[in-house]
Symmetry: C2
DNA sequence: GTGCGAATCTGGAACGTTCCATACACGCAC
DNA sequence: GTGCGTGTATGGAACGTTCCAGATTCGCAC
């Protein structure tokens, strides 16, 4: 159905064909090659000629065709970026990558992962564009695929670990160490962790939490609640925590409403996961069971946590919301620490204490590494780890005594 | 410093040059042309040969080079998309555009607008890529620039109005009519509107609100509060509303805390606009003054609103948060309606009643229109308006009596 | 005058596709 | 047998650049 009739060839708006090198050359009375030189600003043309060529180009409104240019010169000066467009933190990363790439003289080719467009499709399209390297934000791609990909072009994995590609990531464990240290410094002892399930970085953060708790002599209070990386999953985890709290300490009802879920059933169109019944299956990935550290619920001292470290900001937002609705005051009654310092956390009304990933550094390093690989440099260590830092805002305070 | 020594030419990972058509042809024992046919899925190749070619391509890991392809075939089958990567709703739009484009046989070239990368830069990069048309999500570009752009290639403006390009947008006024109708039906009379300032669509929504109020005989209760499109601005507007409420009805303190701002000053790194002193300058764009409809504050009946329509979901989220913190129960004490039905609103813990923009329809229409233009079709009406619809969730309920 | 290195410019061969015109088989009707 | 349509396959000319090997000119030292 598309353009059956050739009589339509008059086209419209962009009527006149784009001028090419030869057009300019003809008008300036020189060869294509010379025009090419001039347009690229390379030496080898006389001052007078150069001027004539530039004038001709200007008059014709000539713009070089990047396709042809790139085809011939082999290079594309393009870095492919795969990212989850729904993920607040990925958005921050892309923002940083743009400026890092520009500084390095590269352009970015974005390819988004959406609910209906998976990573495989996203990467395939970038391969067609002949990117010189791929930067993947927190990819879920299997190790096998990643390896295969890495044989075709340099691949830099951003914000998660991987053993078969270059990696730029945050010291996740160190981040949780800082969070726990901050909370312990405020006098908290019963510090729980809502984890990220199978999400990138989750295992390390869990590990960091555990280690830090032990280091502070709080091993008995280690408490890991299955969470996830979305607001939804944070909310679920928080609700679970609330119920158990009132279970464990019946005389001290922290949540006012008996029903912690929002006031009414979800609208007809809700494709978000509905508030599933609390604590039925322990669905955290990688075999994380609740209170795994030493046995059953009896192991830690029954008291409700006075502080929570959460896998990321998005998840923490969900936690905060449930706490707020349940009438639990933050930070007076309970402190909350997020992770990422995404723009979410900075909003004045969220005002979340969090562990900041150093986005400018990470993106700069990722681009630098990609460029090194493109230039064929030998690289000594494949994994670059960037230290995070604590940003204290409004959701943490002294422990109740 | 980059690759001075040519002895490094062994390269590394991506050692063997990318396979090309001829490589595949050689391996399959056929001509380049035949391989080309097969790769494009065109008829003209025998079943057996086709299989052989595909096998060969698979074994070599062949991917066609889009640069060469596009260079030769004049067409790029590429739709450029300019969008604000920070905007939740744009993210939804891009998600929809991906599937709409795929259905139409086009690819998307994304170019993001970030705080450090403006629309001009975003569009320029797409022009170099020789996109066949441009789809711009809620662009801020000046009318003049837009016109100039439209002479170079087809431009479709998405989710806002414009008189010098094709437009696909929501019937904003109608959306607010539905919102007001919904609230009025629940018995609300004092319905306020927090507007979007200079944001795309804001003027129309304001107009729709005003008209609907009048239609329901509620002209005396028209109340427009300057807002914006971010959570931050919503929070500010809500705080302003709260203070005035307790001013106006001193005997009935809705907000529990005297200080409605979050518990502590923002962290050091906060570049979000700090909670500015309430109600100092009326900073809404386009000369919208508070309670403009008939005069001063005395004109409407002094009572606090029992319902609020908000410019968009993001802004509504900020409003909800402030209300919650102030101890005002939603929807028991006050109802809130958002706009967009972005994924934000659907989160179970936000659960926002909102006016849904029909993203699938809008994106499908935008792509269709772009394709029509590319094909040189004559277009009868440049503006396509898509009806929105109300999605009732948990933030609206009957008015207090 | 000859030789020679710069400086300037040119022609044509790539780059990896698609498109076009053609060639080769067939089978089948006359 | 000739003619012809149809389904396959091929070779080579584009597309708009860049790159490379030369060609031309010039100035200047011998």
């Amino acid at each position: 159905m598309t353009g059956t009739f050739q009589s339509y060839d008059v086209h419209m708006a962009n009527a006149e064909a784009r001028p090419t090198l030869s057009d300019v050359a003809a008008r300036a009375g020189v060869s294509k090659s010379l025009v090419s030189l001039v347009m690229r600003g390379e030496p080898g043309a006389g001052a007078e000629t150069r001027r004539r060529v530039l004038d001709a180009a200007g008059e014709l409104g000539y713009h070089p065709d990047s396709r042809a240019r790139l085809l011939r010169s082999g290079r594309s000066r393009l870095l492919g970026v795969v990212f989850g467009i729904q993920h607040a933190f990925h958005v921050d990363l892309v923002t940083g990558l743009y400026t890092a790439a520009r500084a390095a003289g590269y352009e970015l080719a974005l390819s988004a992962v959406t609910p209906e467009r998976d990573e495989a499709e996203a990467t395939a399209s970038l391969l067609q564009d002949r990117c010189e390297a791929l930067i993947m934000c927190g990819p879920q791609t299997s190790a096998a695929r990643l390896t295969r990909l890495a044989t075709r072009l340099p691949v830099v994995v951003l914000a998660r670990d991987a053993r078969n590609a270059d990696v730029v990531r945050t010291a996740d464990a160190e981040g949780l160490r800082q969070a726990v240290e901050h909370l312990a410094g405020l006098g908290h002892r019963r510090i729980a962790h809502i984890d990220g399930g199978r999400a990138p970085g989750s295992a390390d953060r869990r590990r960091g939490y555990r280690a830090a708790m032990e280091a502070h002599g709080l091993a008995a209070h280690i408490r890991i609640v299955p969470g996830g990386l979305t607001e939804e999953e944070g909310a679920t985890a928080a609700r679970r925590l609330l119920t158990e709290k009132s279970d464990a300490t019946p005389g001290r009802p922290l949540g006012e409403k008996s029903d912690a879920t929002p006031g009414r059933p979800l609208g007809e169109k809700s494709d978000a996961t509905p508030g599933r019944p609390l604590g039925e299956k322990s669905d955290a990935g990688e075999g994380v069971a609740e209170g795994r550290s030493g046995g059953g619920r009896e192991d830690h001292d029954g008291g409700a946590p006075t502080a929570i470290t959460v896998f990321n900001d998005r998840c923490a937002t969900g936690v905060l919301d449930v706490l707020l609705r349940a009438g639990v005051r933050v930070p007076e009654e309970i402190s909350v620490v997020g992770f990422d310092d995404s723009h979410l956390a900075r909003l004045a009304h969220v005002n979340l204490t969090t562990i900041a990933q150093d986005v400018p550094a990470m993106t700069r390093l990722a681009v630098a590494r990609a460029v090194e690989r493109i230039d064929g440099a030998e690289v000594s260590h494949r994994g670059i780890v960037v230290p995070p830092h604590l940003v204290v805002r409004g959701t943490t305070g002294p422990a109740r005594t």
